[in-house]
Symmetry: C3
Subunit: 276 residues, 3 copies
């Protein structure tokens, strides 16, 4: 399968040595691994955003081992398990805490076929600290898997159907409108909704160019278009984003700021002139 | 030519998965490539600063493929072309949008010898999104070139003399003064001017230690020196920077803040005691 | 010894091309090197924090060459030396300015066995700039060492016992209390003290759960526990951190903010109910 690949996502940030230390632990156990950092700027403890970003990134990464650590419950006596799982598609292996972080990605990859609990993995660094399982458990196990170890060699089998998942809001189509929620905002303030581009087209057709975005009792004029730069600077645009999801942006501006919305905010998108 | 090299500069930032996804796309197409990130913190859409940073960095990088994406016009119907070009020196290949981003670097490398338009490259990821050409066009084309593909294999030939360039301000020397402009400020608030160290010496000689920096009607005392730490803490220093350009700094402080200047601000540097 | 390893720590940040340029210089001289970035977000010129972070990270990195640049005195006429040193343990080689940055790590590795001054190294990039020794001296020398050069080949021998060190504050145990100082705060606001977990246990025993943290005349209730999540959200916790040091955190919050402390701040930890 060629060169070993470990991808890595976390909320560790870059100010401290945490990311570098995990790279070091991986390189010691699997010197040939290529390590790809997906991002380490997930807001502290934001499991759901980490799960969404991981799921959006994986289809574009080489197959391999995908390490993810957003773990506000690290080290708790009655805390979450630490797990490694194999997804149905492409032999991808995911490693991280059993708090939902891995499961949106795993579900998009056909679900988890098998899983092991790795808190007492023979690959862990001892003594295991109470606060830095990324270094002491997750990174060394990911590296061992990248080096060719089997799931059975790094942990104890558990029921893959019992892994914790995250409930996402659900968009709906009806009455000529798309009712959806904000899943995430990116660095540019572009908003990804919990609706596919296909749902958007189903709600509004594909010819309607002048739209209204309703949010928290306010209405904003918007344009349906293919991308930001199809509209004027400062104008609101509703489009299908790079992951084929319905999205809202402001050309050369921030939709998150303009609409004043946060994650999970519900909004409606409808044709201008339609009854509001 | 040894191991394949892809360098990468963008305005994607590190909060999202954009950089990691492009690394993944490159690693899938060219598993042996070493990827060097120049920076991904170019301010959003600042093509000129991206072009200057790219040009300053390339001489220190191994020869290879140099990917750069600062692309406020991504996806526009009548937008810029996407291009790959070969520079005259060292067989370096540059890949990015045809909006000037590549051209300061290309000119310093003897100019673009040949170029291809890559929007419909056979190497692109389909369907190409309207908003993430870094992932769908630029990264896979850069990886294909790093893996040994020729320009002709990744795009359609275009006239290299028609590529868009960026007009920079021009410093001038006369009346015992250097009249120059701020090209960029770095993280430390050090200001690079659009004048070489040689122009600085030509304007003021090399013996004159006490200077005046005039900007926006105000005059600041400064010292001519070799580096920051040749002057007192908080003192303004005029020096030749690491790229042999005239520069202004404050020892253990920020010249950008002290002078209150922004990009393209004009200023004059002259001997203290000279008629102002 | 397998694949060459260069680790890299600095205060260069990611906004500019400085880190990428140093990667480029290393890759040109030692194309096989794996480069691991420890962090580049050390606050500008904070030599001591850089030294502490380096020392905490190295035990988890593969053996190799460890490059570190936090260098407020760069280029000064009567400035610090530039050095490479070999530590007693594991053949690790450290490269950086002789301003104390390397020495906490070197001491934890059994001390510096030998050292060379590298300002005029045959490996340096000429002309050496006055402001960017990371690029012109430190990176190329580190790469040469990673490629197999000996210390003698890259510099002139100096007395390793004369290298500059950093004086750290010292914790003390007595009267049922631990008197300690803040060494560093991480991105999460967790505070590492200058006391080991063993000193903490010696001062307070291991059964005492209810503590007081005294700082600047104020007293804060705290819990002794194994990790953040053993206490309620917002509660102060005293624990042994991932590097086996005494530490103070707030579960799902910032101890640095709650206590209002900065580096070197002295504080006392004692049992609740003890005479204050």
């Amino acid at each position: 399968m060629g060169r070993a690949l470990v991808s890595f996502l976390s909320d560790y940030g870059h100010e401290d040595e945490f990311v570098g230390v995990c790279h070091g632990v991986i390189a010691r156990r699997c010197p040939d691994a290529r390590i790809i950092d997906i991002t380490h700027e997930i807001p502290r403890g934001d499991i759901r955003l980490g799960a969404l970003v991981l799921a959006d990134a994986l289809p574009y990464l080489p197959c391999g081992v995908h390490l993810a650590v957003v773990d506000p419950g690290v080290g708790a006596v009655a805390g979450r398990d630490a797990v490694a799982l194999r997804a149905a598609e492409h032999d991808r292996v995911l490693v991280g805490p059993d708090n939902g972080l891995l499961m949106i990605a795993a579900e998009r990859l056909g679900g988890a076929l098998e899983a092991v609990e790795i808190s007492d993995s023979p690959e862990r660094l001892q003594p295991v600290s109470r606060t830095f399982h990324g270094r002491d458990i997750f990174a060394p196990v990911a590296a061992a898997l990248a080096a060719g170890a089997s799931l059975a060699e790094v942990g104890a089998p558990i029921d893959a159907t019992e892994l914790r998942t995250i409930q996402l809001p659900a968009a709906s189509v009806g009455d000529g409108a798309l009712t959806a929620h904000v899943l995430r905002a990116d660095r540019f303030g572009n908003l990804t909704l919990d609706a596919s581009g296909a749902q958007l087209a189903s709600a509004l057709g594909t010819d309607q160019r002048d739209l209204i975005v309703e949010v928290a009792g306010k209405a904003f004029a918007a344009r349906r278009a293919g991308t930001f730069s199809d509209v004027q600077a400062g104008e609101l645009v509703v489009y299908e984003d790079g992951n084929r999801m319905a999205a809202i942006a402001v050309n050369l501006g921030s939709a998150a700021e303009l609409l004043g919305v946060a994650t999970d905010q519900q909004l409606r998108v409808l044709a201008a002139g339609a009854a509001v």
